[in-house]
């Protein structure tokens, strides 16, 4: 079923919200005008709310939080390596804070007005010259102030704790470095001491980096110096190539033919024809797959027609006239023969793509393009483990075959933003994990190849010793920054050593920001999130009893956390698994029709609701700080702005509900 028809939902939602704000503007202008003197009245209410929270032993919450965090950190943190430890500690401290504040202040917000109504204190307060708007604002202000106080206390505690952890890590690194150095000097140890340890001891782990990261691509071979860049899939590796088709049209008579075409180049002795393994996957339902091994002919081409006729393709049902559309489909390709490199067409000209879906039926229909091309520049991923990708080193079995490459492309570099030392060098940090399957005793070595795409001749090659999860500092000449983009390729040089790579593994160094400032920005995001929930809670409390208000707020929060998911559901054609229903057979059955009608209405309603509710997934206090990356001010400011944009309509709703309400 096409859900393009749902595209009006966000528009209706926005119109509804707009009407709400308009109604507020029309009805509340007197009360808003009174706010000039009203903020002190609102704050009086806020103080009372704060006093009540204090009376409800709000000060115990940070204590409880600290205790929980201590227990969790000591229970969960094993030796992750220094960066990992800090990441886990920060995650625990900030996440626990967020959850605790959301729960506690959410409950207080839902109780705020209902409890005053139950205790009838609203009668006395309501007889004073205070408007309903001030009452509402007062409650929100009081609870937000409570949140702010708690956050300040917890931020201080987090900072203190992290400082202690940092001091310990630095001390350990220092001791270990000097031990290694002593042993090396006495020739007990044949490896020089790890420079990464010294860096750690000097700089610690509490950093808020402003480093520049590039775009990571992994391939058997990459050359950006040619435009467009050339990439190749390495045979016999864990590399997978993804062709993504937004939709695959078919006719009832014939599903499309996939035609593959690669440039094949072989290293070493050829044992047979090149083979590829292809897998067809429905995006919205990864369980729906079909796979096949294909042999490439001498020209590097192969043809495949999948068997499952309608599981992946959209078509018009001639009986009902309705369109069946299973959504985006992905074709995964792996090269099976070691020693073969499959060169990939970048596909910027559709007809050149390495994978095309031909519709044989439509070739005979005039006016139709007869093939569908995937999105250009298909992605290649390396071996994946724990969210990282790994690139394999050279192999003893296939000598002469170059190792896999992790390529980082830095575009649009602004030279004046990158500090350059007096030798005319800029600094790059490598933070790479090492996975040794063989040659465990050897230190890991990586080859770094840096070039400016406009001047590939001036490339820099360095062989570096890599310490697992420790920073390796690399100096590169500033002349590399002159061109339109800088490429840094990294590959492992020792057979059996895999390098674990993340997109942040290679970074151009810029001066860091203070950690405490970064922490403060994270806390600001928490405050925004909590404030939004407070406003929702107080608004729910204007017209509901506290249990129902609590439920409503909870539902708002949960739905607000799955906004993207619900949006995707309706865009990709409902619950993927339900797509298997054979419409033809069931079409005439009345209960199927009723069921599908109900489900359609439900999807629409859910979609509507979700568009009316604020998106809580926007608030991510952890993303930057656990990566030791400084949160840009624009991100913090966007979060604040977004909070205000959600708070205003919610407050408007609360005001409209409270405006004529009887307080006694």
């Amino acid at each position: 079923m096409p859900h393009a028809s749902l595209s009006y939902v966000p528009v209706i939602a926005d119109v509804l919200i707009g009407l709400l704000v308009l109604a507020f503007a029309l009805l509340a202008f007197r009360d808003v005008a009174r706010l000039r003197t009203g903020f002190s009245r609102a704050w009086a209410v806020g103080r009372i709310t704060l006093a009540e929270a204090w009376n409800a032993r709000i000060w115990a919450v940070p204590l409880l939080w600290f205790l929980i965090c201590l227990i969790l950190t000591f229970a969960l943190v094993r030796s992750y390596g220094p960066g990992g430890e800090v990441r886990v500690d920060l995650t625990i401290f900030l996440r626990a804070q967020e959850i605790l504040l959301l729960v506690y202040l959410g409950v207080l917000a839902c109780l705020a007005l209902p409890r005053e109504r139950e205790r009838r204190t609203l009668i006395t307060t309501g007889s004073k010259p205070i408007t309903r708007l001030e009452l509402l604002l007062g409650k929100v202000m009081g609870l937000s102030a409570a949140a702010l106080l708690m956050i300040l206390v917890m931020m201080g505690a987090t900072w203190g704790f992290m400082k202690v952890v940092d001091a310990r890590i630095r001390h350990d690194a220092w001791v270990l470095y000097h031990l290694q150095k002593k042993n090396y000097d006495k020739m007990v140890r044949h490896l020089p001491p790890q420079a990464g340890l010294l860096y750690l001891a000097r700089h610690g782990v509490l950093r808020a980096q402003n480093n520049i990261t590039g775009r990571l691509r992994i391939a058997g071979y990459i050359n950006y110096a040619v435009n467009p860049p050339i990439r190749a899939l390495k045979g016999g590796s864990a590399e997978t190539l993804y062709f993504e088709f937004p939709s695959l049209p078919a006719t009832l008579r014939a599903p499309p033919l996939f035609v593959f075409h690669f440039g094949v180049r072989s290293f070493g002795k050829r044992r047979g024809p090149a083979r590829i393994h292809v897998t067809l996957v429905q995006r919205s339902n990864p369980m729906n797959t079909e796979e096949k091994s294909l042999t490439l002919n001498a020209q590097g081409s192969a043809v495949w027609q999948p068997k499952k006729r309608f599981a992946f393709f959209s078509y018009v049902n001639p009986m009902t006239g309705r369109i069946y559309n299973p959504g985006p489909v992905v074709v995964k390709v792996a090269s099976m023969t070691a020693g073969d490199y499959l060169f990939i067409a970048n596909g910027r000209k559709p007809q050149d793509a390495s994978c095309l879906a031909w519709n044989m039926d439509r070739t005979r229909t005039p006016g139709h393009t007869n093939f569908v091309a995937p999105k250009p520049d298909p992605i290649i991923t390396g071996f994946k483990s724990n969210g990282k990708q790994e690139v394999v080193g050279p192999s003893y079995r296939h000598p002469g075959i170059p190792p896999e490459v992790a390529s980082f492309e830095f575009r649009h570099l602004k030279r004046r933003q990158i500090p350059i030392n007096k030798n005319g060098d800029f600094t790059v940090h490598l933070l790479v994990g090492v996975d040794k399957q063989m040659n465990e005793a050897l230190p890991a070595k990586a080859q770094l190849l840096a070039y400016d795409v406009d001047n590939p001749q001036g490339r820099q090659r360095q062989v570096l010793r890599i310490d697992d999860k420790h920073i390796t500092v690399v100096k590169l000449p500033a002349s590399l920054l002159d061109g339109s983009s800088l490429v840094i390729n990294l590959s492992s040089m020792i057979p059996g050593h895999w390098l674990k790579i993340t997109p942040a593994s290679v970074a151009i160094v810029r001066p860091p920001s203070p950690f405490i400032l970064n922490l403060a920005k994270s806390e600001l995001v928490v405050l925004c999130e909590v404030t939004l929930l407070i406003v929702i809670g107080v608004t729910a409390g204007t017209c509901l009893g506290w249990p129902v208000a609590l439920l409503t707020t909870m539902v708002c929060y949960i739905l607000g956390n799955i906004v993207a998911f619900v949006g995707k559901l309706s865009r990709q054609g409902g619950f993927g698994l339900l797509n298997y229903v054979q419409e033809n057979r069931l079409k005439g059955v009345w209960y199927y029709q009723i069921g599908s009608l109900i489900s359609a209405v439900m999807v629409k309603m859910l979609n509507m609701l979700v568009h009316l509710l604020p998106d809580f997934t926007r608030f991510d206090p952890l993303y930057f700080i656990v990566r030791s990356v400084n949160m840009p001010w624009t991100v913090a400011a966007t979060d604040v702005f977004w909070t205000l944009a959600c708070v205003l309509p919610t407050l408007a709703l609360g005001y409209l509900l409270l405006r004529k309400q009887e307080l006694a």
Binding site: S40, R41, A44, R119, R120, T121, T125, P129, L663, A664
Partner: protein
């Protein structure tokens, strides 16, 4: 004498509390027409459930009328600006239990946009005025006795030096001394030119202080007018004197009967228990504080 404006005026004021079914609806007030003049003390009398509290809440805009309307100080009931000039003592003292007396009054003073100095002065002044012992002023209201809470509620009603004071059952929960004090206070408010609307089912309260009153029954006015007119029994004559010997009594009765008086009754007047109690407590207090 200055011309008297009406401080409160209602027209056909009606309140029906909604219910889920029609049978659950409550007709609390039916077409009330009320006029309270400036500077007078007006009593709203009636048995429990007759609609006194409902009337007062309507006048404050705490609830919305089903029909009719009410003007308070020339503005619609519930107007934010008029509330600055109104003091309200609720039927029961609905105060924050976790605050002490000072904090409570400070909060309400803030709602009147008083500055810090004004607040401190007003809080202390009115706590003295209502006679709350200084020892309890720093304690949470949750720990107060009913009478002490009532005093804080009263202070809260007077805090903004209002022109119109609306008191719902002002004497409930107070000891007889407290009651007398309140009555004295109301008298002083009248002298200061304030308008007071008070509701009660304790007739003694009303009788002593009110200028005019209405009696409500089931939401409707049964009787209304000036107290003096309502209570005066014009057809009866009463004589009170000291040192009357039994002979003189006989003579007086004989004279009265001989001149056509009917339904003659004689007896000894009694002091009211209230006065007796007050005299007793006052004597005790004098003894406790010899230096005063």
């Amino acid at each position: 004498m200055v011309a008297q404006y009406s401080a409160i005026q209602t027209r056909q004021l009606t309140k029906v509390y909604p219910g889920f079914w029609k049978s659950q609806q409550v007709l609390a007030l039916w077409q009330l027409n009320l006029q309270v003049l400036q500077g007078e003390i007006f009593g709203l009398l009636g048995p429990n459930g007759s609609g006194k509290t409902t009337t007062i809440k309507l006048l404050l805009g705490l609830i919305n009328p089903t029909a009719g309307d009410a003007l308070v100080m020339g503005q619609r009931a519930g107007d934010q600006n008029t509330r600055r000039r109104i003091g309200y003592l609720p039927e029961e003292s609905y105060l924050y239990r976790f605050l002490n007396a000072r904090q409570t009054l400070d909060f309400y003073a803030r709602l009147f946009n008083m500055n810090r100095a004004q607040r401190r002065r007003a809080v202390d002044y009115y706590l003295d005025f209502v006679g709350l012992e200084p020892a309890v002023r720093g304690r949470r209201i949750g720990t107060y006795s009913k009478g002490q809470t009532r005093r804080v509620a009263l202070a809260q009603a007077l805090l903004n030096n209002p022109d119109l004071i609306i008191m719902d059952e002002p004497t409930s929960g107070l000891d007889p001394v407290g009651m007398l004090e309140i009555k004295g206070m109301i008298g002083r408010l009248k002298q200061a030119g304030k308008t007071v609307l008070l509701s009660s089912h304790q007739l003694a309260d009303v009788e002593d202080v009110c200028d005019r009153l209405v009696i409500l029954y089931r939401g409707q006015v049964e009787l209304g007018g000036a107290l003096a007119d309502l209570l005066e029994r014009r057809e009866v004559f009463q004589l009170e004197a000291r040192a009357v010997s039994p002979e003189l009594q006989e003579k007086l009765i004989a004279v009265a009967r001989g001149n056509g008086a009917q339904d003659i009754r004689t007896g000894r007047p009694r002091v009211r228990l209230e006065d007796l109690f007050k005299r007793l407590v006052d004597a005790k207090r004098q003894a406790e504080q010899p230096h005063v």
